[in-house]
């Protein structure tokens, strides 16, 4: 079960904040090279789960391993293996594009030559050469998102955690972003991604649907659509939420 081929493995992983259970007994096994999508409404516990896996938050109960490393005892070693991008694209807005790349390269402990080389490749790859001396705050959001991802991958981690990477980005930029994610998966990277855009679920190899801290469905998009007899992931999602939290929908229908 805990084979070395797994990028992420959890057993009964739980996190409570006081009386509130944000993540409730979650079991996962994500294979290497997989694009694993996490769907769920706001407050479902997606961010809390990702934070536990990245070593930002200690679990209350259960076990979790990232690339075979234990989240309790080896959280610092895990950080060498992962790239993390939060929904806020955590770049320094008062630094230029170049300076951000150099800074994160330095933080990841790359050598000076490596940083220069990486910087040039990245600028070319992201088509950011003409913006290299622009303050990041003035960068269009789509570029910001790609730059944030680029910076999170400077140390070439095998696993990527992306927490709602496409929030606020226009559809065209979202599409090209997902093409890039697929390219990364082809190169052998594991991508663990949360989203609340249902169409994005189609890009994933497997999808876990989360609500109220629990994983309530987990399969490939195709199989999910088959078993719930829906043509889109949107339909699957609504159907699942409807079954698990009927009250939520009842109250919304009343209002509308």
């Amino acid at each position: 079960m805990n084979s070395p081929n797994l990028a992420v493995w959890t057993r009964e992983l739980t996190r409570r904040f006081g009386p509130f259970t944000a993540v409730d007994r979650v079991n996962l096994a994500v294979k290497k090279g997989e694009i694993f999508g996490f769907l769920g409404p706001n407050g479902a516990g997606k961010t809390t789960l990702i934070r536990m896996l990245c070593g930002l938050l200690l679990p209350s109960e259960g076990e979790a391993r990232v690339n075979g490393l234990d989240v309790y005892r080896q959280s610092e070693a895990i950080k060498q293996q992962i790239g993390y991008m939060s929904q806020r694209f955590s770049l320094y807005e008062d630094l230029t594009v170049e300076e951000n790349i150099e800074f994160y390269g330095g933080i990841y402990g790359l050598s000076r030559e490596k940083i220069t080389a990486k910087r040039e490749t990245l600028l070319q790859q992201l088509d950011l050469q003409r913006y290299r001396r622009l303050l990041t705050r003035n960068l269009p959001l789509g570029f910001k998102q790609r730059l944030a991802l680029g910076c999170a991958m400077l140390h070439e981690p095998p696993i990527l955690f992306l927490d709602e990477p496409t929030s606020g980005v226009d559809p065209r930029a979202r599409r090209s972003f997902w093409e890039y994610i697929q390219e990364l998966a082809r190169q052998g990277k594991t991508v663990f991604v949360t989203t609340h855009f249902m169409d994005e679920a189609e890009y994933c190899n497997r999808v876990a649907i989360m609500n109220l801290g629990r994983v309530i469905a987990l399969d490939s998009p195709l199989k999910l659509k088959e078993s719930y007899r829906k043509s889109t992931m949107q339909g699957v999602f609504v159907e699942i939420l409807h079954r698990t939290t009927p009250d939520l929908f009842a109250s919304q229908e009343d209002r509308s």
Binding site: F17, S86, L91, D94, L95, I107
Partner: protein
């Protein structure tokens, strides 16, 4: 080590790109220096004086002249009666009145001891006390002159006078700037490093970049050193700037060793930077951090002997000041500046200051975790 270099470089890039930050770091301290050095002064100058002269003699005019000779008193006018002086005082036009009775000159010449009356506006007790002191000094000197003159003329003096020779040590002219400027340096080394550390960390928490840093392999001590070292560098630059201005344009005398000054400052900076880090671990937003820093600063400054002498405080508060690291640094810095004291006199304070520095910084570092929530 290389990571720390990149952290420091980033901090300075950010500081020098932000005009507000530049103003805050380099203009505000100088304005503060000028304002505080000139406004918080215990020197009393240009006191307004009204004279009621019933004698209208050579001697009475001489006394009036003696008062206005220095820049301490300024004659606003002669009044006809004590009532008129009272009106002037109520109208804030005069702070002190001198009443010379009729027969003053005659009594003096006869070797008698004529009486003079001085009325002081007591609303501001400090100023009133100092003014009275000045007046007594002037009159004592005058009486001595008269006595000498009479002696020469062969008239025996009324009494044998005991003469007090006063000499102020360390600050010969009782120039309050010499006392205030070291205090301003202390306040600067409190505010700037504490604000820089607390606001710097909390700002990154607000923007989400702190979370990003926490997911990198950057170690906790590297992350914190990346904040501590720039704060130290900035604090020293500030100190050099302020002292240069103080020495060159205020004529502040620095009697002690600069090396010792740098050493004690380092001990104190551990405390203030540590407080900043500690505050940042407690707060989620810059407003909160600002509020906490402000509270800590006001407590430290009021209880640190900057402009409220600790000796004047009630016993309980005086004991409380022993918990205030600024208290020690304030004494030390004034000692070094004014007395030129060496480590031989200051080692006890060095020990206490070091203890504060290491425990507060240690507490802040221990409290800072590479985790959220």
């Amino acid at each position: 080590m290389q990571c720390i270099f990149y952290m420091i470089r980033k901090e300075f890039l950010q500081v020098f790109r932000d005009p507000h930050m530049i103003a805050l770091l380099f203009v505000v301290p100088l304005v503060q220096l000028f304002l505080l050095a000139y406004t918080i002064t215990t020197d009393v100058k240009h006191l307004t004086l009204g004279v009621v002269d019933y004698d209208r003699s050579v001697s009475s005019r001489e006394v009036g002249r003696l008062f206005t000779n220095s820049d301490r008193f300024e004659l606003v006018g002669y009044a006809e009666s004590p009532r008129q002086v009272g009106d002037l005082m109520r109208a804030w036009q005069t702070q002190m009145a001198l009443l010379i009775p009729a027969g003053f000159h005659r009594d003096l010449q006869r070797g008698l001891r004529p009486q003079l009356q001085i009325v002081v506006d007591g609303v501001d007790g400090n100023t009133a006390g100092v003014a009275l002191g000045y007046a007594q000094q002037i009159l004592t000197e005058y009486a001595q002159d008269i006595a000498l003159q009479l002696q020469r003329l062969g008239t025996p003096p009324a009494t044998h006078q005991l003469r007090l020779l006063e000499r102020m040590w360390f600050n010969l002219d009782l120039d309050s700037k010499q006392f205030m400027v070291p205090g301003i340096v202390v306040v600067l080394l409190t505010i700037i490093p504490m604000m820089f550390a607390s606001m710097g960390l909390v700002r990154e928490r607000e923007l989400g970049t702190l979370e990003q840093l926490m997911v990198t392999p950057l170690k906790r001590h590297q992350l914190l050193l990346g904040k501590i070292i720039p704060a130290l560098i900035l604090a020293y630059v500030e100190m050099i700037l302020v002292m240069l201005v103080a020495v060159l344009s205020f004529g502040i005398k620095m009697n002690g060793s600069y090396l010792l000054l740098a050493f004690f400052s380092l001990l104190y900076l551990f405390t203030t930077i540590g407080l900043g880090i500690f505050i940042s671990t407690w707060t989620q937003s810059q407003q909160q951090a600002m509020f906490f820093s402000w509270f800590v600063m006001v407590f430290m400054i009021l209880m640190g002997g900057f402009f409220i002498p600790i000796e004047n405080m009630p016993v309980l508060l005086r004991k409380l000041t022993y918990l205030n690291p600024m208290r020690y640094f304030m004494y030390i810095l004034r000692d070094i500046f004014l007395k030129g004291s060496g480590l031989r006199y200051l080692w006890r304070d060095a020990l206490i200051l070091g203890l504060f520095g290491f425990s507060i910084l240690g507490l802040g570092v221990a409290k800072f975790q590479k985790r959220v929530g």
